[in-house]
Subunit: 225 residues, 2 copies
């Protein structure tokens, strides 16, 4: 417990530094968390295509091994840095700080951080993001919020992905949302499909509204001469 506390304290220091950097550069950062295979990368690829005319977008990709995802992101037209965590099951704020050194952040831009696919470890690690967004696909089962409560408690938005598969799977959307709200009554939920694009306009409206408010709250203070 003591070691865990020390690790989290240290992480929080780095997260605060990342957050200060995001304020300086005017960067709205989201931390995407999920199980492996929920479709995070496909969502980001689609969102980059849809949003890049309105926002500069940069991406940090976390995976234990390979740089496949960063390559997919670059092919979609956004600069991306791949972080390999090796044995680690999550990104931490220090790794993200190093990733940021390799990215040019533009004012008013978005930073998507795609965490390692894991519904447990990333929950406790603040990376300096404005919000954690948990992605759950409808092929995974509606009990996941109850089984992995920390992740749903730490997130502000749940994207229920693969909505196009709903006719083919036995997934109770209302039951899943009810389970998530039992854990976190503030959680917002949107039903989306990275494949068909359905539901994504609502996600983009959420993102723009939150980013605009974040920018107002974190505008650089006027310097008194």
């Amino acid at each position: 417990m003591r070691i865990e506390r020390d690790i989290l304290d240290k992480n929080n220091d780095h997260a605060a530094q990342n957050r200060a950097r995001f304020m300086q550069t005017g960067t709205f950062a989201l931390n995407f968390v999920s199980s492996p295979g929920s479709g995070k990368t496909s969502l980001l690829v689609r969102a980059i295509g849809d949003l890049r005319e309105r926002f500069p977008v940069a991406v940090i990709e976390g995976d234990q091994q390979t740089s496949n995802d960063a390559e997919r992101i670059r092919a979609a037209g956004a600069p991306a840095v791949q972080i390999n965590t090796g044995k680690g099951c999550h990104l931490d704020a220090h790794m993200v700080a190093h990733g940021l050194e390799k990215l040019k952040l533009e004012r008013g831009g978005l930073l998507f951080i795609e965490n390692v696919g894991n519904l447990v470890c990333p929950a406790a690690f603040d990376l300096g993001e404005a919000h954690k967004v948990v992605v759950l696909s409808v092929t995974e089962g509606q009990d996941k919020p109850l089984k992995y409560p920390e992740m749903f408690a730490a997130s502000d938005l749940m994207l229920l992905n693969k909505a196009d598969l709903l006719p083919h799977v036995d997934f109770d959307v209302t039951g899943c949302v009810a389970n998530a709200l039992k854990i976190n009554p503030d959680l917002q939920t949107l039903l989306v499909s990275a494949r068909t694009g359905e539901g994504l306009p609502a996600f983009y409206a959420w993102l723009e509204g939150r980013a605009a408010r974040w920018a107002r709250a974190n505008a650089p203070k006027a310097v008194a001469e």
Copy 2:
């Protein structure tokens, strides 16, 4: 403008008194707002049936004329007070205070306040509730959040009612949610049907989670002897 300010200031004083009363009696109060015909009363009738074994429920009904709604609520098994606003297009906190005199509020109970059907006037009037819940039915069109922004800005939850009619109407759920999020990026949305009951478990989970947190935050302080 000056008169409007005076009216709102006075209302806010009464709302604060209602809020203090709700803290004293341990009552979690929701203020339901919508256009006429969105199905608020049907929703409340169904919710009373589903929730009354878990919570004592009381209702304040606001209408310009008639006591039809209070009668429907009483038939569903909850005590109800009807307030007729006459020419008024909304309840105000002073009217609610008078209504409360006629209701016995039980500790840990719910108070549903059904406002006058009107998407404009009730937005500005705090009644002392924990949350405004805006009900929009899928027969009304997805542009309503943009046309009546104050109501959607003032609400914490949007219930998209009459989900059972979705196959028969030309209503874009995602577009509606996107419009609402443009106005209020914190707004939570649940798709429900008072007729079939679909989606209501998620609403009850939201309600229980919010009520539990409200109760923790407003627990009577221990009195030092």
